[in-house]
């Protein structure tokens, strides 16, 4: 309900005509650099990539350190097992592995004397039909709702993640949908976009990548989406989101299906 909460907040603030924003300088607590593992297996032909970096303090301006000497393996429950080739810059690549719907993939990373494992199951693909653009006029301003059109299967437990790019710029917001409230129907819920840094105008080119994800990846991105809620009351208390990688590594390992659609705002 992010955007609707935003409307509530905006309406009250507008009403009072006095709310304001400003940049402030804060002091931050010290950061403990943690290992960040990013791994994706998709339902299109490989190669697939794993990226291993380390986190830095909030005020740091240098590039993120990478780990290039890890031993990274991905196996699946069909008997395949592969050690990934290090490419430098924290990247590791598969050569033979296939991303297949329904399979469970297991990632293992050995570095700095520690082992980190993760597991993710690729769901069956749900077709991405199209993107519906809904134009609204709210308090005199024109706003656009983006509604991903897809038909949710009858079975319960489907989770979807959407990645949004506007004019080829990747938007740093997290969009999650599931079938808890409406199951087995064509989706009518829009993406809850926080318009602080996204203002759609006619002519903007919108790319939406739809991913069918498993429960552990859905929990990760849902936690991020709930923290970012800036409606009345604010979001949930921020925390490192619960992820599917063991031993204290941050990041997420996701086996998912992909489909991309593009639309231009009329």
């Amino acid at each position: 309900m992010k955007n609707s909460s935003n409307i509530l907040f905006v309406a009250i603030a507008l009403l009072l005509f006095t709310s304001c924003e400003k940049k402030v300088t804060l002091t931050y607590k010290g950061n403990q650099s943690r290992i960040i593992i990013e791994g994706n297996v998709i339902n299109q032909p490989g190669p697939y990539f794993v990226k291993i970096t380390k986190s830095v303090s909030l005020t740091a301006t240098e590039t993120y350190p990478t780990i290039d000497d890890a031993v990274v393996t991905i196996s699946d429950n069909a008997g395949n097992n592969e050690t990934l080739t290090p490419l430098g810059n924290g990247m590791y690549r598969t050569d033979l592995l296939n991303g297949v719907e329904g399979r469970t993939y297991t990632l293992a990373v050995k570095t700095e004397g520690n082992t980190y494992t993760a597991q993710s199951t690729m769901p069956q693909q749900v077709a991405f039909d199209s993107i519906k653009v809904e134009k609204l006029t709210i308090t005199g301003e024109v706003e656009y709702n983006l509604i991903p059109v897809y038909k949710d299967p009858i079975a319960k437990g489907n989770n979807y993640r959407f990645v949004l790019s506007v004019n080829d710029k990747l938007i740093n917001q997290h969009f999650i949908q599931n079938d808890e409230v409406k199951n087995g129907l064509v989706n009518t819920f829009r993406l809850e976009i926080n318009d602080d840094d996204v203002e759609l105008k006619p002519g903007d080119v919108v790319d939406i990548k739809m991913q069918c994800i498993d429960n552990s990846v859905a929990l990760f991105y849902r936690a991020l989406a709930l923290m970012a809620d800036s409606g009345p009351g604010g979001g949930t208390t921020p925390n490192n989101p619960p992820n599917n990688i063991s031993n204290g590594a941050l990041g997420v390992f996701s086996a998912h299906t992909v489909a991309t659609k593009r639309v231009t705002i009329p």
Partner: protein
Amino acid sequence: MYKKIITSFLLLFSATLLQAQSKFTVSGTVKQQSSGETLIGVSVVVVEKPGVGVITNEYGFYSLSLPKGNYTLRVTYVGYKQELIPVKLDANVTLSIDLLDQGSMQEVVVGAKKTNDNVTRATMGTEVLNMKTAAKIPVVFGEKDLVKTIQLMPGVKSNGEGSNGFSVRGGATDQNLILLDEAPVYNASHLLGIFSTFNSDAIKDATIIKGNSPAQFGGRLSSVLDVKMKEGNNKDYHVSGGIGLISSRVTVEGPIQKERSSFIISGRRTYADLFARLNSDFKDVQLYFYDLNVKANLAINNENKIYFSGYFGQDVLGVSKTFGSKWGNSTATLRWNSVLSSKLFSNTSFIYSNYDFNVRFKSDGSETKFNSHIRDFNVKQDFSLYLNAKNTVRFGFNLIHHTITPTKAEGTDIVSNKKSRKGSENAVYVSNSWKAGDRFNIDYGLRFSLYNVLGEDTYNVYQDNQLIQSIKLGEGKVGKTYINWEPRLSMSYRVSNTASVKLGYARNTQNLHLMSNSTGGSPTDQWIGNSYNIKPEIADQVSLGFSKNFNGNSYELNTEVYYKTMQRQIDYRDGADINTVPDIESELLFGKGRAYGWEILLKKKKGKLTGWVGYTLSKTERQINGINNGQWYNAKQDRTHDLSIVGIYELTPRWTLSGTFIYTTGNAVTFPTGKYVLNGVVIYQYGSRNADRMPATHRLDVSLTYEKPAKRKFQSSWNFGLYNVYGRQNPYSMTFKENKDNPQKIDAVQTALFQWVPGVTYNFKF
């Protein structure tokens, strides 16, 4: 353990009863002469017997039992002229007393010694809000606001601008029992905390008890805010009200039976959206709230009186057909007072309370609605027994039936499977206010509380957030029963005529819990009762206090230290969306809390300048399994310093200038400590929970009131106010964003709600 508590209680009780056998009783009701309103908490003492006296109860009733003789009763109450009344006691006497209003804030000294109420009574952690004083305190938009004024007291903290609710002695927002004529009010604010649901024109009295309430109160851990509505003028008809920039209010009151019964109707509405709609851009915006308070009483005979009170309030917010939100409380109370004998006063209440929250939004032609609601049916029976000059006993019971519906989704193509939950919350209590010695007062009591988890619904049982059992309860069947004993104790020892030391201990339990997804409160928060997983919360509070009056009672100093432990506190797992998760109980985490602090309040009660300075130094922490690695962390409402300075200066009898200054440390929050890139976007890393602080909030508000000369019956006044005089941007929220020009740099962006907010209100009465 409980046997020991009950036995010692009974021993203490019978020991106190064996004191002084008294002969005759003088009893009656104390009222305001001009309106016939009963007055609560009026001190009635016997001049000839120092230390012998009582205070009037919630219905203005008092009763004193003394040996046969001639006495003088001294009757005192803030804002009214003291009365000295001779009584010849050779039989039981009914004596009703009328008090006259004082002309100005300056107290007129009549007679010898002043009563030092705060010094002699055993009550601790209690502040009574004087409605006459509250009328002069500036608040946002020039609206007198009971809840905002209470937050100027030490120990009571506002949750911040634009936030719902308040926190008392480190407790959570849902740990305050807010009663309006005995009916619980679940959401005490409009427009997200900008206004409270109490229309001050209809309120007679408000008391906040910070944790050690007498045994007739129970059900919330941290405080009781007991608000009593006016009865209505039973002598003449009056209309009063005010017209302001954002809202207006009107009150009509008058007699039903002259000098015996009355009614009062009070309404308030904002109309900010009407102004906004003048701009065609905003023509679809709906933004308003209204309150309606209705009360009537009827005297059946001299001993029996019936009261009806009702409250209806709603907030409406909507933007065209795409989004709408409505939430509100309604309460209704029917009460029957009966003076059963000169010593025994009875009150029977039937109460209905309902809180509803609805959100609907439309997307792609489909409508989705979320609804959550709580409804109570409540029967209360309370007796006040004025046993003898040294003992006033209260006893009774309270039965509540709750129906709670967690957030339920409905709408186009939505299959809703969430059901209402039912529970019954019951209590029996007894307490005694005992004048144990010349310098010693002890209030002690015991409350027994029992909660039944009822069907008809399926209750899931979880262990470590995994489902282990599913229990289906039939309609009306009792699934689980929780029992708790709550001892309450409060003692005062008078070290001199003007000073006393106090000690208190109280246990409180809470059976209803507010689930909130957000760091501030919001109307989407939902209530839930005990279940197989959720057990009653328990708080134990110990407090030590000192009170002293200076300079002939013109200054009053009250200071207290407290320590409180809380058990069975609730929080959620990360990633839990309380609005869509099928069973919220699967996401719960449990643990404990502790809070401690020092409060000091210095009041200046006489002279042209009156007011107070309140300061609290405190800490409140939680330890929840599954959060922050099981380590103690600051609760979000932890704010180290909280200072309030209130001044009311009578420039001339017609012009009054008042000002409020507040300073509070920021809330405990979690700022990021680091960052990393994941799948192409920056994500923030966090360390310990709530180890950071928002910047401090401080603000000065001023208000100027001009009372126009009264023309025959018509009185009026103008109030000009400026909220946030020096325009400080007090932080409402903090977000972290990549700098547009240099994405490596993270900016902290603070949002503030109000800078300068002027207000003008015209008030009238005829």
